[in-house]
């Protein structure tokens, strides 16, 4: 199986056309790897003995055959000549993006020593490069999360949308019935049947083409925190179902939020905004079906915070990967209609490059206030992205909090954050001194995702 993908480039920018002639440094290659484990795997794959027929062309293509797990060798090709980052293809079944073979090949090439000599490009590599370079330009602006289906005939599309709305309505009505039945008999008597009940209800919501409802219902089955939390979330679910059923009466903004929350497709048709986007955080969450990747970006010019969402099948990382702490010159288009900060990545103008810019921050009282204000437009919102300035991680009983260095208030860390290894990186980085922390601030507490030391220093990823 062949996969293709784009890489993000760290290190210096491409300067002119001669750059592609220059071999990269190992550092620059390793900056492509999404995490430490893939850096290690790439280093391992850089053993000269693994490779045969490796070579590079004058136009920035590097290729080689890598001896793999017994069968035919993998054909690995990397095209380093593209200003928006190198692209690669590899015959391996691996899931990393880039895979260790692409990294290993580049490392071998970067190391010099005649392991990857200048050579005539073989047919199999040339074909891929040719196909890619003519295909480039399209596809690049496509969002990994899937654009809305192209309207093929306005009338048919409208009828389809209507049919779907009817099914969602039927689903919302059924959900309402189930919720009210539950609260007639009471949470106490619902007791143990909980989890199975929610799974079944979630399946009904999937049938009703309301994936947003289905996800919220499924989460009820695994909710910690006893009847209080369950009542809260059931009430918000009820609010969402009622909102859908009476969406005609809602102001347009709130109606759009309801449509998005219920799970109707949104489109990223906001005007493209070009900026140097600082990558604040990248993390994956997975359930049994899907891996969801969230990338938080901060527009160093506009001061806007944006969220890139992308998906992969369970157990596989989505292909888009950006280096935390670097800035990307690119266009972003916002999703419209109550999708919050979500945006789609458009054209990239240069590879991500190191930056000393940090997001501007605020205090803990202002952070919670910002969450409260955001609930006005989206009462289902769990958290908002916030950067806290000058806070100190402080142990507090079993938990931790981020306390204002210059005040007497603090934000407790969320239960998620308390169990992550990132907590200890944050505490180590601080050493009792103030740090800047970017994270998600909401009703569960604050979830730190990246931090900067008081003095100069790079962003430290915490997720």
């Amino acid at each position: 199986m062949h996969r293709q993908g784009r890489l993000s480039v760290g290190g210096s920018n491409f300067v002119g056309m001669t750059e592609q002639e220059v071999r990269w440094t190992a550092d620059r290659v390793l900056a492509l790897a999404p995490d430490a484990a893939s850096r290690a795997a790439g280093t391992e794959a850089a053993a000269a003995g693994l490779w045969s027929e490796a070579g590079c062309s004058g136009s920035g293509t590097v290729w080689g055959l890598c001896r793999g797990g017994g069968g035919a060798p993998y054909r690995t090709v990397v095209d380093t000549a593209d200003a928006s980052g190198p692209a690669y293809t590899c015959g391996c079944p691996g899931r990393g993006a880039p895979c260790e073979h692409a990294l290993g090949l580049l490392l071998l090439w970067a190391g010099g020593g005649g392991k990857v000599p200048r050579a005539e490009i073989p047919r199999w590599a040339a074909q891929w490069v040719a196909g890619r370079r003519t295909g480039a330009g399209e596809g690049r602006t496509a969002d990994a999360a899937g654009s809305p289906p192209r309207a093929a005939g306005g009338e048919a599309a409208r009828r389809r949308a209507e049919r779907r709305a009817e099914r969602v309505t039927a689903g919302a009505e059924e959900l309402e019935r189930r919720l009210t039945d539950l609260f007639r008999t009471g949470l106490a008597s619902a007791g143990q049947a909980g989890h199975g009940r929610w799974e079944e209800t979630a399946a009904r919501m999937v049938d009703a083409q309301a994936p947003g409802l289905a996800t919220r219902v499924r989460e009820l089955g695994a909710l910690p925190g006893g009847p209080v939390r369950l009542l809260e979330e059931c009430a918000l679910l009820h609010l969402l179902a009622r909102g859908w059923l009476r969406r005609d009466l809602l102001p347009e903004g709130l109606a759009a939020t309801v449509r998005t929350r219920v799970g109707l497709p949104a489109s990223a048709d906001g005007p493209p905004v070009r900026d140097h986007w600082l990558v604040l955080a990248q993390y994956d969450t997975a359930d049994s079906r899907l891996t969801t990747r969230r990338i938080w970006l901060y527009g160093t010019g506009s001061g806007r915070t944006a969220l890139l969402l992308s998906y992969g099948p369970a157990g596989r990382a989505p292909e888009i990967a950006l280096p935390v702490g670097q800035a990307l010159d690119a266009e972003l288009s916002a999703y419209r209609g109550g999708a919050g900060p979500r945006a789609a990545l458009g054209e990239r103008f240069a590879a991500p490059a190191p930056t000393t810019v940090r997001p501007s921050g605020t205090s803990t009282p202002r952070a919670v206030a910002r969450y409260g204000e955001a609930l006005r437009d989206d009462p289902w919102l769990d958290s908002v992205p916030v950067t806290l300035d000058r806070v100190v991680p402080v142990p507090d009983g079993d938990g931790w909090q981020l306390a204002d260095a210059d005040g007497d208030t603090a934000l407790p860390l969320s239960p998620t954050a308390r169990s992550r290894p990132g907590l200890w990186r944050l505490v180590a980085l601080s050493g009792g001194a103030p740090v800047s922390v970017f994270g998600e601030c909401g009703h569960q507490g604050f979830t730190p995702l990246a931090a900067w030391p008081e003095g100069p220093g790079e962003a430290v990823p915490l997720c």
């Binding site: 053993a47 009210t180 009471g186 009430a235 009820h238 009622r242 603090a410 050493g431 001194a433």
Partner: protein, 542 residues
């Protein structure tokens, strides 16, 4: 309830509690005011709960700040160069089992390079990036052999951190003084107070620190409380006198020979016997000398041994253990202890002015040779005597050096430890040239890293010969692993010729050539990686 739901704690309004109670019991049993039972009542409840939930979330306020931990002590060492910091993150991410493949293939074993990396980083005096401290502490937690160097590199901030996480308590135990700092050199009062009032680990730290700078002051500190210490503490404290041991310590040690505890007595005797000028050493020389003589009546001079017939109270006081282990004759047991504790310098006078080499070459009558030579080996190691070590090691190319001779490989390894690094490497290189690699593992382990050029060449040549002989490389996996970690990285270039898969000789093990090529590739890759590691840790030229 946790503070994360701060609103629930601080502002639980009466009507919200009411709603929760109704939700738990059910609206059929407890209808909200003004509505009849049935579906409508449940919907009213949910409406009210939704409004209350959004209101509560919108009204969240920050919590009061808890008491802040004291700041971490400052780490004054310079920060790691960026490339070295990335390398460290990579080495720490490569935990065992991460790659999950059984056979090692051609990939370097990154975790095995961590000790070397830490040693160089410590030697250059760099401080780690704070964000990597948790990974460093986790690595040190998993591997006790890494702890001293990892904790030294991790520095003061890591101890500060370890106090906040029970998983890292080991760091406080392993660190000198249990994480408390030893009082400064001039703070005599603080030192004395900590010695008198501190915990055991703190007292060991104080004594050790003082001993390394002012041996006499440390001895006097120990003597001031010696009579009141418990036996096992006396033993530990006495052990710290090994550092900076000198003739001045003799009176104190001589007094400890009368200690109530047998282990304390034995340690005192051992320390005294390492001082060739001590009275104990002279007494042992007399006793041992009485047992050994050169018989000149034969055609060639021969050493004859007459082992002692009894172990008297004076011998016992000087640390001789009277009771022999099971299976050993008492008299040879006693003799071994006497010969081991006697100063090596006394033998030349006793045996006709001969040099150590001449003495070792003398035949020994009646099967006493191995007993006598083994005792001399122990003495040469304890007294750190290179001349005797050289004599006992013999020529590396001598036929008996490879087999089980009078001096075992383990003893040879210890003897090598008393020689300088260059001489050690040269001897082991000579050994490998004659005897090959199968017995060399232990000897290679005592050689200084990176291996000196002649030694490296000898190992590579021997591996090459083993390959040509058609055996499988995993018969040499121990030496291969050592070579990956210890060969000088600059040797990598010379190994390129070995990377090709050779034609298999007819009598070779099937497929061996491919495996050898793989093993050599791993060797070369690892050497290149080490060279890169070292370069990254080299501070830029000023």
């Amino acid at each position: 309830m946790s503070r994360t739901t701060a609103a629930v704690d601080t502002a639980l309004p009466g009507d919200w509690e009411e709603l929760v109670t109704t939700a738990v019991l059910g609206t059929d049993r407890r209808a909200p005011a003004g509505v009849g039972p049935g579906r409508q009542a449940a919907a009213v409840l949910l409406d009210a709960a939704a409004a209350a939930t959004v209101r509560r979330r919108a009204g969240l306020r920050p919590a009061p700040a808890a008491e802040r931990p004291g700041p971490a002590p400052e780490d004054r060492r310079p920060a790691l160069p960026p490339a070295a910091a990335r390398r460290l993150a990579m080495l720490l991410a490569n935990r065992p089992g991460a790659s999950g493949t059984g056979r090692r293939g051609t990939a370097p074993d990154l975790m095995e390079l961590l000790p070397q990396w830490l040693a160089v980083a410590n030697a250059r005096g760099f401080a780690p990036p704070p964000a990597l401290l948790p990974a460093l502490l986790d690595a040190a937690r998993g591997r006790t052999d890494l702890r001293p160097s990892a904790l030294r590199f991790a520095g003061p901030r890591a101890l500060w951190l370890a106090r906040l996480n029970p998983d890292w308590r080991f760091a406080l135990r392993s660190a000198p003084g249990g994480g408390t700092s030893v009082p400064a050199r001039h703070d005599t009062g603080g030192m004395r107070r900590l010695w008198q009032e501190g915990l055991f680990a703190e007292r060991v730290a104080v004594l050790g620190a003082l001993r390394s700078r002012e041996p006499a002051a440390a001895r006097e500190l120990l003597a001031s409380t010696w009579a009141t210490e418990r036996a096992e503490d006396r033993l530990m404290f006495l052990d710290s006198l090994r550092t900076g041991l000198g003739p001045d310590d003799e009176p104190f040690l001589e007094q400890a020979l009368a200690d109530r505890s047998r282990n304390v007595r034995a340690t005192a005797a051992e320390l005294l016997s390492a001082l060739p000028g001590s009275a104990l050493a002279r007494r042992m020389a007399v006793r041992a000398g009485a047992c050994v003589a050169v018989d000149r009546t034969r055609d060639t001079p021969v050493i004859v041994v007459e082992a002692p017939h009894e172990c008297d109270a004076h011998m016992e006081r000087d640390g001789v253990v009277a009771k022999a282990p099971a299976g050993r004759g008492e008299r040879s047991w006693w003799f071994g202890q006497l010969a081991e504790a006697a100063p090596l310098g006394s033998w030349s006078r006793r045996l006709g002015g001969r040099t150590p080499r001449e003495i070792v070459a003398l035949p020994v009558a009646d099967d006493w040779r191995s007993e006598l030579h083994a005792a001399w080996c122990r003495a040469a190691v304890r007294q750190r005597d290179p001349a005797w070590s050289r004599a006992l090691l013999g020529e590396p190319s001598a036929p008996e050096a490879g087999g089980p001779g009078a001096v075992s490989l383990a003893e040879r390894a210890k003897l090598l430890g008393t020689l300088g690094p260059a001489e050690r490497a040269e001897w082991v290189a000579g050994f490998i040239e004659t005897h090959g690699l199968s017995e060399a593992f232990q000897l290679l382990g005592v050689c200084a890293v990176p291996w000196a050029a002649p030694l490296g060449r000898a190992v590579v040549d021997a591996l090459n010969i083993a390959r040509d002989a058609g055996s499988y490389p995993w018969s040499f996996s121990g030496v291969m692993g050592l070579a990956e970690r210890c060969l000088d990285p600059s040797e990598a270039g010379r190994l390129d010729a070995l990377l090709a898969v050779p034609d298999e000789p007819e009598d070779a093990s099937p497929g061996a050539g491919g495996y050898w090529s793989e093993a050599f590739q791993r060797l070369v890759t690892t050497l290149r990686l080490r060279a890169a590691m070292l370069a990254e840790l080299s501070p830029p030229a000023p």
